[in-house]
């Protein structure tokens, strides 16, 4: 049993504060949903936890149990059990999925074992064998890219996965398959999930244990699964820019919470 512990996490980009003290704990086997309006800093949260360049951490801590992740380079965080499924997976020309999995510190040195896990995961999520030979994310559709992320999650068997808008670009069938696979990982392998999303449709198969409303750079409200349903009905108005009406109009077009790195 492990815990991913985020405490007082503050981060900025080019001097602009985006994360303003995030507190969140995810336990093994649990699914924590982080839901919020566009531009609230949700993606920044995932990037900062994974260690993407371009962000300055100004305070706080991210740990897996006693291990401080913020002191580690990205690959060491992954080795320690963190996985980030990206909203927009990067194209890496000329590098095959197989090469990546073999080079990962999360996998064994046995190419046959990696191969058989890759094949088994591809079959589980209906990812065509032809895609295994393609350069990473090159010429893949949005849905294929997300299946590819899910396949990697299955092979690398992380302790904690951050899903950044996993549902974007997925059709209903693919969404069901991918979210069901991750739900299974929480049951089979005790995967802890931090699922960042705007919509609750991801949670038809992937059952959240806790739901957190994220706005203006911090968690604003936490609750049980029913909160996700409420949010779907009521939207995020309660948490969005309470002072917007009093601001002069030019400020409206300059969203202070937009993630400058997308």
């Amino acid at each position: 049993m492990s815990e991913l512990i985020i405490e007082g996490l503050c981060a900025s980009v080019e001097g602009k504060e985006i994360l303003k003290g995030v507190d969140l704990v995810v336990k093994s086997g649990e699914v924590a949903a982080v839901m919020g309006p566009n531009g609230s800093g949700k993606s920044t949260l995932s990037h900062v936890i994974a260690g993407r360049p371009g962000y300055e951490v100004t305070g706080g801590s991210v740990r897996i149990d006693d291990l401080e992740l913020l002191d580690l380079p990205t690959w060491k965080r992954a080795e320690a059990g963190l996985f980030l499924a990206m909203q927009y997976p990067t194209e890496v020309p000329g590098v095959a999925l197989r090469d990546l999995l073999r080079a990962s510190a999360r996998t064994s040195d046995d190419p046959e074992e990696i191969e058989s896990r890759m094949q088994a995961e591809a079959e589980r999520i209906g990812f065509g064998a032809q895609f295994l030979e393609r350069p990473l994310n090159v010429d893949l559709s949005g849905g294929e890219k997300k299946r590819n992320e899910t396949l990697q999650l299955g092979v690398l068997r992380p302790a904690f996965a951050i899903l950044d808008e996993l549902d974007s670009g997925l059709d209903v069938d693919a969404l069901r398959i991918v979210s069901a696979r991750i739900e299974q990982a929480t049951e089979e392998d005790g995967l802890g999930v931090l699922a960042i999303t705007h919509y609750s449709r991801l949670f038809d198969e992937l059952r959240p244990d806790t739901v957190h409303v994220f706005a203006d750079g911090r968690i604003r409200e936490s609750g049980g699964p029913r909160l996700a349903t409420e949010l779907e009905e009521t939207g995020y108005e309660r948490w969005v820019q309470p002072a917007a009406a009093t601001k002069p109009s030019p400020a409206l077009s300059d969203d202070p919470f937009a993630d400058p790195l997308g």
Partner: protein
């Protein structure tokens, strides 16, 4: 003019009288020409000023010629040392098909074909080759004949301050098809001047795949010229993989002279330490409806430099031309340097042409993506660089050379220092 490259020296090289006369005429013409300088646009950015021809003499030494680096048995192999042929092996099937692979002087058309493609693409160093090439090699594929496996020519140069003048002429007949692997190597430490000339002639509806692998020694200067003439509806796929040399220049002229002719032109290159790799390309669209697609991708590491200058030229009659030119460079480290200069010269309005060039470090997002899956930083960079070049490797005309090229890239990568990002610093 250097005395070692005099008309008398040219006259002293063996050969039939027509070849001796030709060499002497070239040597005499050379005495009227000056060695190029960086003031010539063609030699801009090059270290040509450092070349002192007087310190070189035509090579006379012999040694071992390297074997072909292929995953399949070649259809024919010609091995050359210092420009001289030391062995010729030709599959019996090729002989039956009427394919000629051997010394150009042994073929009835030898005199007619030598220089027939390169003549109007000459410069000082092609003329030097004309004057001092000892053993021109000729590959002749008759009309309608297909050669399934690659024909391999290997060239090795050795001997300090030796100058070597390899010459290869390839003629692919109408509706004929062949692939040629042309390998160049030299001993490390020997200061060698290599001035090879390759002539590629593709007749109507013929198809030629040509791959030049350059793995010269660390002290070799190469000034190479490759000239192709592509006739009506014919296709050439001509590639270069350049890894070696102190200064290695490759000039590639591709003339699309027949309507519907097509050229695919590729290069991958990887410089490190103090190497300079210099590429000049000409996509010359002479006839209507001709197409060309050029992709040159290179890596510069250490204190190495690369120069790419390319010209797409569309002649007045070449309506319907489609021509593309892309040069991308990865720069590993602050001391490496890459220059990319694409040019267009268009004399017809009914054309589609584009060029693109980039010089950039390893992409942060790509590195982050691989790292976020647990790939150590240095290993992530190696994968990205190898993948960057692999885009060219997979397009080359000799697929059976691909694994060997990937090994060459891996050897180069293993010599680079990615340690500043690697395991050592991350604890």
């Amino acid at each position: 003019m250097s005395s070692t490259f005099s008309p008398d020296a040219a006259r002293a090289i063996d050969g039939p009288s027509w070849l001796v006369d030709r060499r002497v005429a070239a040597a005499e013409a050379l005495s009227e020409r000056a060695v190029p300088t960086v003031a010539d646009e063609e030699w801009r950015y090059s270290p040509i000023a450092e070349l002192d021809l007087d310190t070189f003499a035509p090579s006379t030494t012999f040694g071992d010629a390297p074997m072909a680096r292929l995953d399949v048995e070649p259809a024919a192999t010609v091995r050359c040392v210092n420009g001289k042929v030391v062995s010729i092996e030709v599959d019996a099937l090729l002989v039956e098909q009427g394919v000629f692979v051997g010394l150009l002087v042994d073929h009835a058309d030898g005199e007619a074909v030598l220089g027939s493609v390169s003549a109007d693409a000459g410069d000082y160093f092609t003329e030097l080759n004309d004057a001092f090439t000892p053993h021109p090699v000729f590959i002749n594929v008759p009309n309608g004949v297909t050669v399934d496996r690659p024909i391999v020519i290997t060239h090795h140069a050795a001997g300090d301050h030796g100058a070597t003048f390899s010459r290869l002429v390839v003629r692919v007949g109408k509706n004929a098809q062949a692939t040629v692997l042309d390998q160049y190597s030299s001993d490390d430490g020997d200061v060698v001047l290599a001035c090879p000339v390759v002539e590629l002639d593709v007749a109507q509806a013929g198809r030629l795949g040509y791959l030049n692998i350059q793995e010269l020694g660390d002290s070799t200067w190469q000034i190479a010229s490759q000239v192709a003439r592509v006739e009506r509806d014919a296709t050439i796929s001509a590639g270069t993989a350049a890894f070696g040399g102190a200064y290695a220049r490759s000039r590639a002229d591709t003339r699309l002279v027949g309507r519907g002719a097509h050229g695919d032109l590729q290069a991958l290159y990887f410089g490190d330490e103090g190497q300079t790799l210099d590429f000049r390309t000409y996509q010359d669209h002479v006839a209507p409806d001709t197409t060309s697609n050029l992709l040159y991708k290179g890596v510069v590491a250490g204190k190495s430099r690369s120069i790419y200058t390319g010209l797409i030229r569309v002649r007045p009659d070449a309506r319907g031309t489609n021509a593309y030119q892309t040069n991308r460079n990865l720069k590993l480290g602050d001391d490496a340097w890459a220059e990319s200069v694409p040019n267009l010269e268009i004399e017809n309005n009914d054309v589609k042409c584009s060029h693109a060039s980039t010089v950039s470090p390893v992409d942060d997002d790509q590195r982050f993506y691989l790292e976020s899956r647990g790939v150590p930083t240095g290993e992530a960079e190696r994968l990205i660089v190898a993948g960057f070049l692999d885009e060219v490797v997979t397009e080359l005309a000799v697929p059976s050379a691909a694994q060997g090229l990937r090994r060459s890239v891996a050897v180069k990568l293993a010599a680079q220092r990615f340690a500043e990002y690697g395991v050592e610093d991350s604890a």
